[in-house]
């Protein structure tokens, strides 16, 4: 308990917190009465405790509370989902896929549907590619006047817009927004203070 002539730090702490046994407390009080070093430490720790306990609970601004509600994604990961797909879940996914494939095979073989599956797959892939290209090219889009200026940082604003389902990316001190109207952006960011991050709509 005692290192040299002084009590250990944890003992002094327990003394301040009133967590020592009666015997140990008496022993320590006896030491404190004759040791200015330990008595000063105890006084400082008590003063620090008092200052901290006087501090108030800070209240989250109501607009931010509202923003939390609006920014919670509607789709949440299913509870207790295991990392791997269970056989039952796999079956649930594959069954409709197999059914559609079977219908396509029947239609193709009966001549109702032209054999243009490759073209369809190709155009789907092309669509995905062009989507990706759009994302990549977002930084090179024409400069447009900002529809809003809000407090940043820009990356945080872009993150928030994406969470709310709006396509956005931070480019320097700007946030480029695609496929969204000014009203949608204002709804999403209206609670933010005016700042230097420019929100630009990319047509």
């Amino acid at each position: 308990m005692v290192t040299g002539t002084h009590p250990e730090e944890v003992d002094l702490f327990d003394y301040v917190e009133g967590e020592l046994s009666a015997d140990r407390r008496t022993e320590l009080e006896f030491h404190l009465a004759s040791c200015a070093t330990c008595a000063k430490q105890v006084a400082l720790v008590q003063a620090g405790k008092d200052a901290l306990r006087e501090s108030q609970l800070l209240h989250l601004p109501p607009a931010r509370r509202e923003a939390i509600s609006t920014s919670l994604p509607t789709q949440r990961r299913a509870p207790d989902r295991s990392p791997a797909l269970s056989p039952r879940r796999l079956l649930a996914i594959l069954t409709p896929v197999a059914a559609v494939a079977a219908v396509v095979v029947v239609l193709v073989s009966s001549g109702v549907l032209e054999t243009n599956g490759n073209d369809q797959a190709g155009s789907a892939a092309a669509g995905a590619t062009s989507q990706l290209q759009m994302e990549d090219q977002a930084g090179g889009a024409e400069a447009a006047p900002p529809v809003m200026k809000v407090a940043g940082p820009a990356t945080t604003v872009a993150d928030e817009l994406r969470r709310k389902g709006i396509r956005a990316r931070a480019v320097g001190n700007k946030v480029e927004v695609r496929d969204a109207t000014q009203a949608e952006v204002e709804r999403a960011l209206g609670y933010r203070r005016t700042g230097r991050v420019e929100i630009v709509l990319i047509p």
Binding site: R53, L58, H59, R76, D80, T155, T156, R196
Partner: protein, 176 residues
């Protein structure tokens, strides 16, 4: 463990958004206090709290009922605070330059005070320990779980944090 949040958490885990909103209402101010005292900026703190609740909602299925929900939430908030801090180099001055909203004047007043300035001067481990223990009332065990150290270390950090804080406040008072 008897967790007062248990019933709401169980409902939220089944997708009950209303139950989760109740949990947000219950914990929002404590998380905001934690984040604000650690970051020193109400705007950054609000961002961290918002992020923490979103992460909690998305990761609710990973919460196991052996632990307290509040401890789990504090852990997420501490991570969000850490992430917020790492973002600072990109645009640190802008937040400071924003005008203060009158609604936030109380928070601004608290942050401009000697206590916050002394807290900001504390070593990070000490600051976390004293805020969690003395301001939010967490137990030694909770803080040990949150910070990954032994309970004895938690006590030592609170002891040293309080002592340093008092010294900083005392120095300030003497100069005034």
């Amino acid at each position: 463990m008897d967790d007062p949040d248990g019933p709401l958490v169980r409902r939220a885990q089944k997708g009950d958004r209303w139950a989760f909103e109740q949990l947000v209402d219950r914990h929002q101010h404590r998380l905001f206090t934690l984040a604000t005292r650690l970051l020193g900026s109400p705007d950054e703190a609000a961002d961290a709290v918002q992020e923490a609740f979103i992460r909690a909602w998305l990761g609710l299925s990973s919460f196991r009922h052996g632990a307290r929900f509040s401890t789990w939430l504090y852990r997420i908030c501490l991570n969000a605070v850490h992430d917020q801090r790492t973002k600072r180099p990109t645009a640190p001055l802008e937040e400071v330059a924003e005008p203060v909203d009158p609604r936030d004047q109380f928070v601004a007043h608290e942050l401009s005070g000697a206590l916050q300035q002394a807290l900001a001067a504390l070593e990070e481990d000490y600051r976390g320990a004293v805020v969690l223990y003395d301001v939010l009332g967490c137990s030694y065990a909770e803080i040990a779980e949150l910070t990954g150290v032994a309970e004895g270390t938690v006590k030592s950090r609170i002891f040293r944090g309080r002592k340093r804080l008092a010294e900083l406040l005392g120095t300030r008072t003497e100069r005034e």
